[in-house]
Amino acid sequence: MMRRHGALALFLVFVAAAPLLLPAFYVTLFNYIGLAALVALGLVLLTGVAGIVSFGQQAFVGLSAYTTAALAVHAGASPWVGLVAALALTAAAALALGSITLRLSGHYLAIGTIAWSVALYYVFGHLEVLGQYNGLDNVPAVSLAGWKLDTGSESYYLIWLVAVAALLAARNLLDSRVGRAIRALRFRSVMAESFGVDTAALKLLVFLYAGLLAGLSGWLYAHYLRFVSPHAFGVNAGIDYLFMAVIGGASQVWGAVIGASILTVLREWLKDLLPAVFQKSGNYEIVVFGVLMTLLLHRTRDGLVPAFARLLPAGAPRARPPEAPALPRRAQPARGTPLLELRGVHKRFGGLIAVNDMSLAMRSGEILGLIGPNGAGKSTVFNLVTGVLRTDAGEIRFLDERIERSTQRDIARRGVARTFQHVNLVSNMPVIDNVAIGTHLRGGKGSVAAMLRTDRDEERRLLAEAARQLERVGLGEHLHEPAGSLPLGQQRIVEIARALCADPVLLLVDEPAAGLRYGEKQALAALLRKLRDEGMSILLVEHDMEFVMGLVDRLVVMDFGQKLAEGLPAEIQADPVVLEAYLGGIE
C-alpha cells in the first residue's frame, strides 16, 4: 500500500515539475495527453468497468467546446460562464441519449453512439453560428482572478489539475459502495439488483460521468487552443479515445493516462515519419493504430496496465479492515409468524411449464428444505420469490404483503437475500468487496460522497461487516483474494456471506453444499442452524440428502413444477410417491 502511494507521489511530482524541465514541444504534447486522458478516463469507467462501449465521446467534447466557444465569441461571455453552460448542455445531452439507449444491448448502443456523433459532426460543420467548417477562432483564454492562463505551461497546470483531480475522484469512486455496484454492472447486474442496486440508474450515472469528463476536456480544449473546428470531433476522434482506453487497460483508471500517452506520442511520431515514407501527406497513422489494436486484442483484453503494474513493487499484503461500530440490524419477526406463502403459482417458458400450481407456506424461524429431481422447478421458484422472474398466475406473499409484482430491489429491501445456483460473483474483484455488495442497502452514501471521500465512516462500517460475515463462514483468510480464484465450493460460501451482509429476514440458499468436503458441510450446517436460532428463516434447495435431512425442520418435494409432498424429513423419507419420483417406480 505504502509503495503504491509512493508511485502515486512520484507521478504527481513528475506532473508538477514537467513544464519546468521540458521544452515547450513536450509541454504541448503533455497538454494533449491530459485532454485525451480525461475523455479516456470516462471510457475506462464506461467501457472497461461497466461494459458499455461508446464511440461517441467526441460528440460530448465537441458539444462542450462549441458551447463555451460560441458563448465567448458571440456574447463575450467569460469562460467560467461557458464552463457552467457547457457542462449543463453536455449533461442534458448525456442524460437524454443515455436514457434512450442504455437499456439496449451493447452493440446497438455502440452503433447508436457512432450515429449521433456523426450527426452532430455535420451540424457543427454546417451551422453558420458555429463558423461552419472553418470553426470559431479568437476564443479567449481562461482567466483566474485576473491572471490570464494563455501560455502552454499555464494551460498545462490547469489541464493537469483537472485531470489529476478527475483521476483521483474516479479511483475513489471505484473504491466505494457505489463503485462495487458499478463493477458488478458488466456481467452481474441480476445479482446487483438482488441486493438492491438500481442498475439502470447506475448505468446512466456512469454514462453521465463519462459525458461530463468529455465535456470538461472540451471546455479545456477550446480555451487552450483558442480555436474550435469540427475536424477535432469526427468519427476518428471517437475511435481514438476508445482505443486509448483499451490500450491502457480498460478496467483501471491509470489505464487512461497510459493509453492517452501511448496513442498521442505514437501519433505525433508517425505523423512525422509516415508522410516522409510515402512522400505524400495524409493520416497514414491510422493503419498502424488499426493493426496494433487488432494484435493487442488478439493477445489480451487487459491492455497494458498489467505490464506497467509489474514494474511497480508489490504492495504489502492488505490488512483486515479495522473493527467499526456494527451496522443497525433489522428486527426479526416473532418466531412462527407466517413469513412466505405461495398460492397457485404458475410460470411457463414458451411451451414449457416450469412451475405449475405451486403452493407452499413457511413460518419465520424455520429451515424449509425444497427438494426434487433436476428440472423440477426449484430454482424457478427462487427466481419468482426474489422477483427475477414474474409469475404468470398465482400470488406470493411475504410477511402478508403481496410481492409477485414487486421488483428485485423492492423484495431485497423487504429483507429477502439469496445465493445463486450458478455462482454469481465478480470474479476479478476481491472476496471482501464482493461480500460488501451485500451491504448495499445498509449504506446510503452516493457517488459524490465517494469521490470526495466523505463516505469513509460508513465505508469502514460496511467493510467491517463484510469481514465479520466472511470470518463467520470461515473464509477470514481469503479477504483480499480475487473471488474467481477460490475453489467453487468456497465461492458458494462467499455467496452466503454476501447474503448475510444484507441482514435478511428470509435467506434463500441454492445448493450451498455442492463441492464442499465433509467437514465443511458440517460447519455449514452448524452455521445455518445458528442463524435459525438467532431468528432468521431459511429456504434451502439442496441435493445432498444427508445434509438436508439432518438440517431442515420441514421439507417440500417438487417434481415437474408441482408440489409432490410436504412434511417432516422422516415422513418424506418414507413417502412412496417421493421414492418413486427419485428412484423410478417398479414397472
Binding site: R103, V118, R301
Partner: protein, 348 residues
C-alpha cells in the same frame, strides 16, 4: 415541390436505397453468423469503386497489392498454425486459397489494365479482386477472436476499418474517383424520366437478393450458414466448423460489397474514406429493420435512401445529420418494446 421533383427524388432514393439494402443484407449476414458488427463492409465498396475507376483509366489498381499482401499475411498465419500442429498436409490448400488465387487475380488485373477491356470484363475483374479479401480479413483479424464478446469484436472491427481505410489512402491516394456510367440511356415514362443506370442498380440489387435467398434455401453451404446463425454450438456439433461459416459469410459479404461498389461507382464520387459513411447507412437500414429479418432490413435500407434523397432536397447541408439522427427515435422505440434481458453476457 412539384410531382416531377418528388418522383425524381423517389427514383434517386430508391437507387441509393437498393445499394444500402445490399449492404444491410451483408451486415446482417455477417452479424448473424459470426456476431461481428462488420463496420469495414464500407471499405469493400470504396475498394471496388476505386479499382473500377482506375481500371477504366488504364491504370493498375493498388488493390492488387492489398490483395496479394493480405493473402500472404493470411497464409503466414495459417502456415504458423500448421507448423505448430505438425500438419504439412494443409499447405497446398493454404497456398492455393491465400497465395495462388490472389496472385492470379493480380496478374489478370495487371494484364487487363492497359487494354481498356469491355466494362463488363472490368466489373468481373473488380469482383475477383475484392471478394477474396473477405476470407483473408476473417482469417487475419477475426478468426483468432472467434469466441470473444460482441463488443470486443466491434472494437476489432473499428481497428480493421482504420487499417483498411488507411491502406486505401496508401494505395488509392486521396483523389476521389467516379467511374463512367454503364449506360446513358433514359426512358420517359409519363412525367418520370428513368435512367438506365437506376434500372440497372435496382435490378442488380434485386437479383443479388434473390441469389442470396436461393443460396440460403437451396444449397448445403447456405443451410450450414443458417444453422450457424441460429445456434453456433449446435451447428458445430453436427459438423459445421466455425471457421468455415466465418470464411463463407465474409466471402459473401466481400462479394456483395464489391457488387455494391461497382454499382455506386458511377453515381457518386468515391474517396478512400467514403466507405464508413456508406457502411453506416447500411447499418442504420439494418437497425431500422430490427437487425434480425432480411426483408425488413432491406426495406429499412430503402427507407434510408428515400429519407436521404428528400432531406438533400429540403436541407442539403444537413442531409447526413438527418439520416443519422433517425436512428435515435428507432432506438427509442426498440428500447421501449424490448424487455430487459434476463440472460447476461458471460464473462470471457
Amino acid at each position: 415541390m412539384t410531382a416531377d421533383i418528388a418522383l425524381w427524388l423517389v427514383q434517386d432514393g430508391v437507387t441509393n436505397g437498393a445499394i444500402y439494402a445490399l449492404l444491410a443484407l451483408a451486415l446482417l449476414l455477417v452479424f448473424a453468423v459470426t456476431r461481428v458488427i462488420f463496420v469495414p463492409q464500407g471499405e469493400f465498396i470504396t475498394y471496388a469503386a476505386l479499382t473500377l475507376g482506375l481500371l477504366q483509366s488504364g491504370q493498375v489498381p493498388g488493390m492488387v497489392y492489398v490483395l496479394v499482401g493480405g493473402g500472404l499475411l493470411a497464409a503466414a498465419f495459417d502456415i504458423a498454425v500448421a507448423v505448430r500442429e505438425n500438419a504439412p498436409g494443409r499447405l497446398p490448400r493454404i497456398l492455393l486459397v491465400y497465395v495462388a488465387v490472389p496472385v492470379a487475380m493480380a496478374a489478370i488485373a495487371w494484364w487487363a489494365a492497359p487494354r481498356g477491356l469491355d466494362m463488363w470484363a472490368q466489373v468481373l475483374i473488380v469482383i475477383g479482386l475484392v471478394a477474396p479479401l473477405g476470407p483473408i480479413l476473417y482469417r487475419v483479424a477475426y478468426q483468432p477472436l472467434a469466441n470473444a464478446s460482441v463488443l470486443v469484436l466491434f472494437v476489432v472491427s473499428m481497428a480493421v476499418h482504420y487499417a483498411l481505410s488507411g491502406l486505401g489512402l496508401v494505395f488509392f491516394g486521396s483523389e476521389g474517383l467516379r467511374s463512367a456510367a454503364f449506360s446513358d440511356a433514359r426512358v420517359r415514362l409519363g412525367v418520370l424520366d428513368i435512367t438506365a443506370q437506376s434500372v440497372l442498380v435496382v435490378s442488380a440489387s434485386v437479383a443479388g437478393m434473390i441469389a442470396l435467398w436461393l443460396f440460403f434455401e437451396r444449397t448445403l453451404y447456405g443451410k450450414a450458414l443458417r444453422a450457424t446463425a441460429i445456434n453456433r454450438v449446435g451447428a458445430r456439433l453436427v459438423g459445421v466448423p466455425t471457421e468455415l461459416s466465418g470464411m463463407l459469410s465474409f466471402l459473401l459479404a466481400a462479394f456483395i460489397g464489391a457488387l455494391s461498389g461497382v454499382l455506386i461507382a458511377p453515381i457518386t464520387t468515391i474517396y478512400y474514406d467514403t466507405g464508413l459513411m456508406i457502411g453506416l447507412k447500411g447499418f442504420v437500414g439494418a437497425i431500422l429493420g430490427g437487425m434480425a429479418s432480411y426483408p425488413l432490413a432491406a426495406a429499412g435500407a430503402v427507407a434510408v435512401g428515400l429519407l436521404e434523397s428528400f432531406s438533400s432536397f429540403w436541407a442539403s447541408a444537413l442531409k447526413e445529420s438527418i439520416v443519422f439522427t433517425l436512428i435515435i427515435p428507432v432506438l427509442l422505440w426498440r428500447s421501449l418494446t424490448s424487455r430487459h434481458p434476463v440472460i447476461e453476457d458471460e464473462e470471457e
